[in-house]
Amino acid sequence: MTVRALRRRAVSALMTGLVAGLCLLAVLPLLFILGDLVAKGASSIDWHFFTRSPAPAGESGGGVANAIAGTGVIVGLAGLIGLPVGIGAGIFLAEYGAGRLGFFVRFVADVMNGTPSIVVGIFAWTFIVKPVGHFSALAGAVALAVLMVPMIARTSEEMVRLVPHSLREAALALGYPRWRTSLRVVVRSALSGIVTGSLVAIARVAGETAPLLFTALGNLNFTTDVSQPMQTLSLQIYVYATGPFDEWHRLAWAAALVLMGLVLVLALFARWVTRERYGAR
């Protein structure tokens, strides 16, 4: 083998190793977090943890059933509000967003993507909590929906843009009206990407705490009434982690593990939903 060929091999191996090492470095924190959560939280998780509401301060036992239900209700409601708006905006941007309105919407979405979530919480407090006179799960859901919309809009736009122009032309040449081309062919081709983007956005807001602090507020009791304050896992973690009791700290770890688990399930669900329908591709 010539010297040049040897050198090429060496450089190739070196670069591959470098990239693999950097990749490992990127996932290392995640592995540490997961490991830490399991180590510190798993022991506190038992059946009661999922079925009971928190015990009064100082007493041991109790669970986070109210927080799990609350997370489901608030995030679900946020999705109900945010998904149609976000996906609709994304499709508009990709299909009809060439003009000034599109530029404006895109700009606003980008700015909103960079807005700290606590600001969105203040916004929801100002426009919902204050006029109504009390904290509510609905206000929290609206805050989360406002956070979701720009994320979903921009990812949906990207996904719809990725659909080859030739497909659009093929549908139009077949005598499809423009809106039908958008929905039946273009959006359908982009659907798996849109679903993935939406689930990622849902998973993102499921862990939000700041915008819920002065909207959903938190609640020690189990409730599904969206007009009332409601507990979520993230709020529960915040309360427990900043509290004075060791018992609470353990519960905070356990709640964090459950929250991560929920996000993981959501991610797996996203994978399952968007699997290739026909297998072979």
């Binding site: 497909l167 005598g175 026909y278």
Partner: protein, 257 residues
């Protein structure tokens, strides 16, 4: 020029197609006799695809694209004020250079796509129409056992015949083929060319090709376009054997283009 005695289905009258202020097709007047294959040939960038895209009003979908002159479909100008472009495209089907099966749809749904738009056909008749279209596109025997599998699993040549089936399923009057074999291997090319001879019994076909041999093989009439202008048109046999213009002969013999 093509003889006027043939049944006149499709014709252009001083058709000019522009992108912003640049004219890609200049004052082209052509007749496309019914149930014949007309080939449009010419070097790259001569405007042959643009001309084709004017025939089903696809041209106007591009940025800054517009048209002057007329395209007559059964005597009616498809650019007339009261004509709906979407309706025109249902009567004038099109197949593109690269196969464009809808990736989210099965083979069956691909062919049925044009039938189902606006629910033009009762469901019971869709299956019959799909089979007929696949037969016409000479694809039925290859796919009849897997109609409900993905269309993108087909080979390139099969995909292109699927696109032809999809285009003919709604029974258009005219079929436009835009370099339909450009991305196919010789075997696939041959099948499409054979198909042209079959399909012209039912449809009026206009095919754009940069391959002169292909034009000679499949077409009854040929139009030679250069720099957006119609240089010469006539029966393929005549045009290829005794072109009237020096420029045509030069192109046909490979001296330019």
């Amino acid at each position: 020029m093509a003889p006027v005695d043939a049944t006149l289905l499709l014709a252009t009258d001083r058709l000019t197609a522009l992108f912003h202020r640049h004219a890609a097709v200049k004052e082209v007047s052509l007749l496309f006799p019914s149930n014949t294959v007309t080939a449009i040939i010419g070097p790259s960038g001569c405007g042959k695809s643009t001309l084709l895209r004017c025939l089903n009003r696809m041209h106007e979908l591009s940025d800054g694209a517009w048209v002057t002159g007329k395209v007559l479909l059964e005597g009616v100008d498809i650019y007339g004020g009261e004509v709906d472009a979407v309706q025109v495209r249902r009567r004038v089907g099109m197949v593109f250079q690269r196969p464009t099966p809808f990736p989210t749809m099965s083979i069956f749904d691909n062919v049925a796509a044009g039938l189902r738009v606006d629910g033009r056909l009762p469901t019971s008749q869709v299956a019959t129409a799909v089979e007929r279209a696949l037969q016409q596109a000479a694809l039925w025997d290859e796919v009849k056992d897997r109609l409900h599998t993905s269309a993108v699993a087909l080979s390139g040549g099969q995909q292109q015949r699927l696109c032809i089936a999809r285009a003919v399923a709604p029974q258009p009057d005219v079929l436009l083929l835009d370099e339909p074999t450009a991305s196919l291997d010789p075997a696939g090319t041959q099948r499409i060319e054979e198909l042209c001879h079959e399909l012209k019994r039912r449809y009026t076909i206009v095919i754009v090709t940069h391959n002169m041999q292909q034009a000679a093989r499949v077409s009854d009439y040929t139009a030679f376009l250069y720099l957006g202008q119609l240089i010469e048109a006539g029966r393929t046999r005549d045009l290829f054997t005794k072109p009237r213009l020096e420029q045509t002969e030069a192109y046909l013999t490979g001296r330019f283009g």
